[in-house]
Amino acid sequence: MLQEKLQAIVLSSSDYGESDRIATLFTLEHGRIKGFARGARNSRKRFGPALETFARINLQLLRKDGLSSLKQADVITLYSGIRGELSSIAHALYACELVESITPEGHPVPRLYRLLTTYLERLDSGAGNPEDRRMFEINLLNILGYRPLLEKCSRCGADFGERGALIQSGGELACRICAATGFPMPIQALRELRSCLSTGRFGLVRFTADGILPVGRLLDDVIVSHTGRKLKSLDFLRQTSQM
């Protein structure tokens, strides 16, 4: 078995036994994998702080089905800017949990790796905010092929411009003729969501005040329909945004 060198972002890690750690990593080369780091809590030399959540690391491991064996990790960045701001920590942990919950194990998704890296860099340079979070989510859904149809009614194919859009359960968008009830989605907000997909940079798209709420509702519904559960970090994200 060959030792591989990978780039990874630590999605989560937990203590195991007296001195070991189990980490979930999102690697550029193999997507999401789980790794066992023997003696990680004792060996400052081999791992140091490299298995801290949302750290970006260079990793050496022996790849195995299920639990890979982590040999050594060097920190590229711990994102000290994120660690100094509560809302940024909350958003970064949410992003990591979302990626861990929604990505398949062992399938490389390099575009998503780059998106997560860009989002963490954005959080590292300033406080987390709902607009960047929604930009991250819609691009993540788009990369994984889970994006809802934003251009036209998912049932009849008609353009929303004429009929208006309603959010249905599971994050589906339907026109007012196909669906009698549902949470209204402003057409302007749909345009802004589409703009999020065409720009590769955070901070360029600004949502209108009455657009961010339905956009959030739509994306939350789509995410829950794919993860199958409400993410644990959402409660903390909500609490920090109210402080």
């Binding site: 140091g48 959540t53 994200l237």
Partner: protein, 197 residues
């Protein structure tokens, strides 16, 4: 022949539940205890004693046998409270002989990925102590992990309105270590937090 329901296997099962103890170690420990009935009796008595006598202090939530604990009822500086994650951290700080104030044990740290939020910790009790007492300073000594940092930042925000001084333990290069062997992230933090001499 030992069966799964035998008392020895029950003991092995209980030992296995302890952190860092696997099946083989549990079996080895159980046979070691069997060899010396006096040790077995002493162990069982001390386990019962711990169960009956040790509990968290009603003021600071540190593990104690008296209520309030010796620190809360002793002659210490009551104008400073050091906030820590658990009672083991208290022991480490006491070993340093560098602190003479009071403590407050949170009984954990905010861990959003494990579903542990501020309401699951002793934060409400800390805020009550701060608002009711004549405090000058709260020293936050949570761990330097993401969870510990999140807890420290949350406490800083929650304590802001009380007007009390809030400080955080310093972090950087450990004493007695060579800089060349220290990881880059720690060196970076040490540089950011450097002191004027």
């Amino acid at each position: 022949m030992l069966t799964k329901s035998s008392s020895l296997m029950r003991l092995v099962g209980e030992l296995k539940k302890l952190p860092g103890i696997g099946e083989r170690t549990a079996l080895r420990l159980a046979f070691h205890l069997l060899k010396s009935p006096q040790n077995l009796t002493a162990l069982s008595e001390s386990l019962c004693e711990v169960r009956d006598r040790v509990h968290p202090c009603s003021t600071c939530f540190a593990i104690t046998e008296t209520d309030p604990c010796s620190i809360c009822s002793g002659n210490r500086d009551s104008s400073v409270i050091c906030v820590i994650e658990n009672s083991q951290d208290l022991m480490a700080l006491e070993r340093s002989n560098a602190y003479n104030g009071m403590y407050h044990v949170l009984e954990g740290a905010i861990s959003p990925l494990s579903g542990i939020g501020p309401a699951d910790l002793r934060i409400g009790e800390l805020l009550s102590r701060v608002t009711e007492g004549q405090l000058k300073e709260v020293v936050i000594a949570t761990n330097f992990t993401v969870e510990g940092e999140a807890t420290a930042l949350y406490l800083t925000k929650a304590l802001k309105s009380t007007g009390v001084k809030v400080s955080r333990l310093a972090h950087g290069i450990p004493l007695g270590s060579d800089i060349e062997f220290v990881d880059a992230a720690t060196v970076q933090w040490a540089l950011q937090g450097r002191n004027e001499l």
